[in-house]
Symmetry: C2
Subunit: 291 residues, 2 copies
């Protein structure tokens, strides 16, 4: 099966690949787009990473990830903001280096509840951080893509739990540089998902659509409980139709953290991703010539 | 520490206790109220269970549990409805047998997504089942307490995931016999929880307030990831204030499924529950003379 034109490999799906390996396997498997992680980019340095991406001819669909803005105290706050500023700059440079149709999207994970703190306070600090960073992101042409994570991560990873909550923050911050990630794994259960995807589309806030399936029983490490599309219970026909109707025309990333998938060769993992994406998501996805 | 007057032991907290043992330890530890599970009641038979409860002098705070209305097909539907009708009758009888201030509350767990099905269809079947049962529950003087479960259980246990969703169903069904459970473990992460608890209070739909704490990492079996109040991250001061302000004046159940707690003697487990409830919840709970 040839890769869907809008399919993008999120590098987390082949976690142990270097940037060079990730770019090469994407090209070999016929992909047009890739979402990068900060660590493999840092390994070669930003300038070199940008050149490698340019040489690959791939689009750049997102940069993973920044955020983690929930720790209290002035020092922690300043350090987190500086880290986010570096990530914004990386995103700007990589999006320029990617093929036409690349997206200067920086995925923002909120961060968890600090020791002894409350979720309300952590949420307020996250929003304050976004409000601080939004004008800087806007000046750089970068979108801060707030990613609600499944509520099972609400205590230790992301106090941002629903798409509605992300859009409420975007409304209050009031910057066009604030968007949201619609990640199937994180939002599929939400009784309000249809209304919120529609709202996100109407407000021009869908910065990324990521697909990844949910299946139980959950593994011991719930961070690794993600599956390729079609291997679980998510209704991708329904969710993809919602995203289509909301007007999203960008790349669609597969971001799967799964120990079995990571154990495969990069080619096998990506080939399997291409096939399962095509069967479960691609068939429902509107075709657009990106760029 | 003496037990708070509104504290009720949910029998799931001492899962391996028989009905007789659960009633005895509750009396010994100075509790005034108990929430029962169907299986230990069935072991002795409903009539005998009612007599034992009457003799104990305890209030009856809820019956756990019925629901599981998401399977397709006429046979499955009829069987599930019959099982729920038996549970409604048990609830009526036990609430009559309990001390004054007992509550004829039947906890309803939705059920998961059937093999090959979608969450939308499963949700529709659950709502249809509630609409069928509501007039019968009303005639019996029983409240069907819809229990939203944490979204990590949405695929295999409960397609009812938020308090807002439960209240929407209650509105559409339009019966005073439909209520909702506010279970801290299941709703603590919800960005909309304050608004929905207020709405539930305004609509007279808070049928039960259950307390149980959230802590990570989650154990391998996520069903056993519950902790006594104060052992995790839930902000019980905030949540209990919301429930107070919403006008809830009933019993407050501790329902904790935890292998370490189950390994203790019933007296030790209940004594620990009394102490931790007092420190984390009781201090924030309005005092009412129940009954």
């Amino acid at each position: 099966m040839s890769a869907h034109s809008r399919l993008s490999l999120n590098q987390g799906t082949i976690k142990y690949a270097s940037l060079a390996e990730a770019l090469e396997v994407s090209q070999r498997q016929g992909l047009q787009s890739i979402g990068l992680w900060r660590e493999p980019v840092a390994e070669v340095g930003l300038e070199r990473a940008a050149q490698m991406l340019r040489d690959s001819g791939l689009r750049f669909s997102s940069h993973c990830r920044a955020g983690f803005l929930t720790e209290p105290g002035e020092t922690a706050r300043r350090q987190a903001l500086e880290e986010n500023r570096r990530a914004i700059e990386e995103t700007r440079v990589l999006a320029e280096a990617g093929a036409p149709g690349s997206s200067a999207t920086l995925v923002m994970v909120a961060g968890g509840i600090p020791e002894g703190g409350t979720i309300e306070d952590a949420r307020a600090r996250f929003e304050e951080g976004i409000a601080t960073l939004a004008p800087e992101a806007e000046a750089a042409g970068v979108t801060l893509a707030l990613e609600p994570l499944h509520p099972m991560y609400a205590s230790d990873r992301a106090v941002l739990s629903t798409l509605g909550q992300a859009l409420d923050i975007a409304d209050r911050v009031g910057s066009p540089a604030v968007g949201a990630v619609v990640d199937a794994f994180h939002v599929w259960w939400d009784p309000d998902v249809a209304a919120q995807v529609e709202r996100a589309g109407r407000d021009g806030r869908i910065a990324s659509y990521q697909v990844c399936d949910w299946k139980t029983p959950l593994p011991a490490d719930v961070l690794l409980s993600r599956h390729l599309p079609g291997d679980g219970v998510v209704d991708f026909a329904h969710l993809t139709a919602l995203v289509n109707e909301a007007g999203y025309q960008g790349d669609v990333e597969v971001e799967v953290f799964n120990a079995d998938l990571w154990a495969k060769s990069y080619d096998d993992a990506v080939a399997e991703m291409v096939t399962k994406f095509g069967a479960s998501v691609g068939v429902h996805l509107a075709e657009f010539a990106i760029a």
